[in-house]
Symmetry: C2
Subunit: 652 residues, 2 copies
């Protein structure tokens, strides 16, 4: 046994209480983990919480200059790949960059309308943020720009308080302010290494939420698709449907014809690309094609079809500065901060998830906290240059990946294409009909209704499915942020429920082995006479200590009744398998003590098997082990059964 002296000393002092020796068979002692100071434990705990990925490991054993280079590469990943960049890579990036820009331009205009912002803001948002991301971001395939969910949430939250038609300047300023706070929130999550906050949006929640949001977004498009002029400003399904049918006299058949025509075209191209992934460019090019075709059509028919609403005049030129439009006081500050945090967290979730998906396809890793900083800084910069919330978009990234993008240079190419559009091509959009934008949005969000995942949730985990349903209907019928809130609460409640009502299993011996397993799962597992072996499947906390105490007593009662009915050997010992008790708090310690006393009064012995390191430490510190006596803690259930049986034989 190779021991270091420090450790031996520590154990010697407690040996009498913990070490167990027996002549008849080898019984192993349960050991305390090596002694650590509070400071040391705290440091380790903090580093596990905030630095689980050990971000500084690259810097170990390096020269100063190398360290500086590594730090530079860490802050600006562009330095990692720039030295090896060549013409072959450029060719791939050029193709993919142009492909995504053909998607980005119509999407930018459409999503800005979704957030009730002027269409030009959507184009601005596809220019500055991709440039910043290409400097800071660590994903090679992320296509950056505005996304539907964040646009919808920003639009719905701001419009609830302010009318974008009556106070457009205030509305625009608040959108930039919300973007600024979204960026600050995202960057601080990254800097403070609190990235795990976004983990609380479970997949089930997100499936329901995005599905609900997609329905909401699609319904909003009925305004454009039917040509309705006076539409409700509400988002919920009921007022929207009422508004659609009340304004039937405003429906315009020309708009409907045009809209559904292009919708069918776009959905068909989407279907083709889904069927044959190689034809991804069919759906990627379709939005721009639709915009061009519909614009030409409306231009040609401009003298006969006044009923089709068009985008109209768009200003030429690059992003104007907007730092002076940010509000840092006044009555709407709280609204802007709230909107910023919610859109920030949603767009972050999408960006990180998309980045991770494509990184795992190409087998590289994306550093979550770094991505948060990159996305956050990109939004802060965006808010000062007339951009609203942007992130890594799923549709753009998928097209980018399929088009063969190799590095973030494709984002730079896209930004350049958008720049050209901004500088020279804006007048061409004058006759672009709004109805085509509606069709583009519907096609984009319809893929977000992930009924297959929902079905899988139903099949695998009913509670996850419930969380999914709640967020879906919460978004549809109540409101977007409340639906999200309900879903998060259900997800957290699920964790707490698992902790509050943990499983307790009866274990039995698998004949011919020292293995003890759940007798429900393993039919060959046999109960050991006179023993009741229970496994507690959760940490013992204040939230479940009362329950566990009552539940264990009920197991004992039921076992005794069972023995009585079958004339079996009387129950003498209860073994608690603590393998899955990964933590214990003061209430849990009290419960164990109490339980031992209550069982003692009924002449039943209670012993523990395999307490893990920190549980053992706490048992020791709280002096509970003393009450358990010399033979109260065993390394395995098997050794406990063997040792206790041999003692019983010795003293009949």
């Amino acid at each position: 046994m190779g021991v270091n002296s420090n450790r031996v000393e520590h154990f010697d002092s407690h040996e009498s209480t913990i070490k167990i020796q027996d002549e008849t068979m080898q019984i192993h002692a349960v050991q305390l983990p090596p002694h650590r100071t509070t400071l040391h434990k705290l440091r380790q705990r903090v580093s596990e919480i905030f630095f689980p990925d050990d971000p500084l490991y690259r810097f170990k054993n390096q020269t100063c200059f190398k360290k500086f280079l590594l730090a530079l590469q860490y802050l600006f990943p562009i330095f990692q790949w720039a030295p090896n960049y060549n013409l072959t890579l450029l060719r791939s990036d050029l193709i993919s960059g142009l492909t995504i820009s053909s998607l980005a331009i119509p999407q930018g205009i459409s999503y800005a309308k979704l957030a009730n912002l002027p269409p030009i803001i959507g184009l601005y948002s596809s220019f500055v943020p991709p440039l910043i991301y290409s400097l800071l971001g660590s994903s090679r395939h992320l296509g950056v720009g505005p996304v539907s969910i964040a646009s919808l949430v920003m639009g719905s939250m701001l419009s609830e308080k302010i009318s974008y038609t009556q106070e457009p300047i205030l509305y625009l300023g608040l959108a930039f302010t919300a973007t600024f706070f979204a960026g600050v929130f995202q960057a601080s999550l990254g800097i403070l290494r609190l990235g795990f906050v976004i983990d609380f949006l479970s997949k089930a929640t997100l499936v329901g939420f995005t599905g609900g949001a997609a329905v909401i977004v699609s319904l909003q498009q009925l305004k454009g698709l039917l040509g309705i002029v006076h539409f409700t400003s509400k988002m919920q399904i009921i007022p929207v449907m009422i508004s659609v049918f009340k304004q039937r006299h405003e429906w315009s058949w020309q708009t409907i014809l045009l809209g559904f025509g292009f919708l069918v075209f776009l959905l068909t191209t989407r279907h083709i690309s889904l069927r044959k992934p190689k034809l991804f460019w069919v759906s990627a090019a379709a939005p721009l094609t639709s915009v061009i075709l519909s614009t030409i059509l409306v231009f040609l028919l401009r003298n006969t079809t006044h009923q089709i609403s068009v985008i109209g005049h768009l200003p030429k030129g690059v992003n104007p500065p907007s730092a002076n439009m940010l509000y840092f006081n006044g009555p709407y500050l709280a609204l802007a901060i709230k909107t910023g945090i919610i859109t920030g967290i949603l767009s972050l979730t999408e960006g990180i998830a998309v980045g991770r998906t494509f990184a795992s396809l190409k087998n590289y890793q994306v550093d979550g906290n770094k991505e948060m900083m990159a996305i956050g800084l990109m939004n802060i910069a965006g808010s000062c240059s007339s951009c609203y919330v942007t992130t890594g978009s799923f549709s753009r990234s998928a097209v980018n990946y399929n088009a063969g993008a190799q590095t973030t240079v494709s984002n730079i190419i896209m930004a350049a294409a958008v720049l050209v559009t901004l500088l020279f091509l804006m007048p061409l959009f004058y006759y672009t009909p709004n109805v085509v934008l509606a069709a583009i949005i519907i096609t984009a969000v319809i893929g977000l209704i992930d009924y297959q995942s929902a079905y899988k949730l139903w099949k695998v985990d009913k509670l996850d499915f419930l969380a999914c349903l709640c967020s879906f209907f919460g978004v549809l019928f109540i409101s977007v942020p409340l639906g999200l809130g309900i879903a998060v609460i259900i997800s957290v409640f699920k964790i707490l429920l698992h902790v509050t009502r943990p499983n307790t299993l009866v274990l039995g011996n698998i004949p011919g082995t020292q293995i003890f397993h759940n007798i429900n799962q393993y039919i060959e597992a046999l109960r050991v006479p006179s023993f009741l072996i229970l496994a507690v499947e959760s940490p013992i906390y204040f939230a479940n200590s009362t329950y566990l105490q009552e539940r264990i007593l009920r197991w004992v009662r039921e076992e005794e009744e069972h023995i009585k009915a079958n004339n079996g050997a009387p129950l003498k010992c209860i073994i608690l398998d603590m393998t899955a008790v990964t933590a214990i708090d003061t209430s849990g310690l009290d419960t164990l003590c109490e339980l031992r006393k209550m069982l003692e009064k009924r002449s039943l012995e209670l012993v523990l098997a395999n307490p893990v390191g920190n549980v053992m430490e706490k048992l020791h510190k709280s002096n509970i082990l003393d009450s358990f006596g010399l033979k109260g803690v065993y390394l395995t259930v098997g050794e406990a059964v063997a040792d206790i049986s041999s003692i019983w034989k010795a003293q009949p």
Copy 2:
């Protein structure tokens, strides 16, 4: 192997994917738990959540008449012991009942003042509720009446919005309304079997909270103790101390002399009883003695000491009905409901905890959900008969227990004594000085400052101690309900933190055995070459799946670096010990899949050891086992190592 046919059928269909057979050694198959329908699983889950104590087990296999009797006994526990009641028991109950009434009368008057209610309400509250509890309650030692914490909270929450001096009728009505809602809340927790809600107030939280509340209560008594007339209506420590020193000109030396005299007397008696538990009656009788002595003193000196404020006139007679004073509408309804829920949950926590403490001392069990119904109904009835919130009081129950109470008849005796007081003795309290009530309150609450428990928390669990400190200072500096809220959030956060950042341990083999244990805890445990054996110590959830994936990859990276540095055998296989993974959700399943793919790309094998029943079920349902192939799941780590090693040997 004794198998039932149903089970065999079920397994046969999956045998190809799960069962593992090997010629060289006996490898046990991991089995799925027996198939259950969704409805069956749901029923079992619901019964674990709401009926963990199987409350109907007494009714099994009984005749109809017996069932009726048992139901009657269940609803009115008085029928359980009444048939066996005899004179010996009555003698004990008479003595203890009179003893607690001597405590209950001065306490009732004092606590009512703490809630800013007329003193007579405190006596009313010691009459009706004990009678109702003695019919419904299942604890034999609970002494029922108003308690300090709930009185303080009700007083502070109501006074924040309404002045009890300017609108005494409204204030009183709201206090009754709050009591009504407290009762409704408590009873519904019991009826809906949601008793576990109070488990979320952890012991750490309560130690801090009651300590903080005790300090607040004591500071409030400075008003009475110093004889200050114009006192702040705030509760926090800072405004109270400012008020005390600003009003120095109102300090009255006669009051101070009298107050501190009796305070020293009361504290001395308390000290004596603490030292010698047999002399419990010394501290039990001290409050009434102080009231009598001080009343006589003030009466004798009534012509010379006008500065000492006295209780004054108290109406004679039993509780007047107050159902007509309840508010069920109006602007203060929300306040009454909020106050009711918070005082309800606090008084419930105290009542249940006290009941459980004394029940465990006498080795009987208290049914939490039934107690909640009893306490709730008692408060509903109380609110209609001029009583405010009551529960099982710790001080009264302790005296009751020490004085030898055997059944709840002692509560009936106490109620009778209070009745006599109400009918005949009220004029005697005219000259009772308020300062003595202040001294009684301070003596009562000073015992609630449990610094020993706080020290134990510090020693055993630093995070529990932090929760304790936060609730203590939250109550002192912010407000009583907010302090409580902060503490609950910290406690829940602690659970979530444990789930979000679970431990992952490296396991090693204990030589000569098939046992694998944490190499940090067991120094003799040796790593197995070419294997990395990791134990995940938590369910795998959406909240930790990303973390676990990254952490496991980091373990692999570190292991590979370590092997490189030491020229060891190359890593070939990672075994995940799933014993402590007590649940998995869809995100967790995706993570396992992803992890397997990522490791495969690095030519590393991933196998699972000992997945528990429901995890195995989900692995199976989500078809992940297919991707793990025939040899991906083993019953124990030992078998996995043996089997995989033998395969490697076979194909060198």
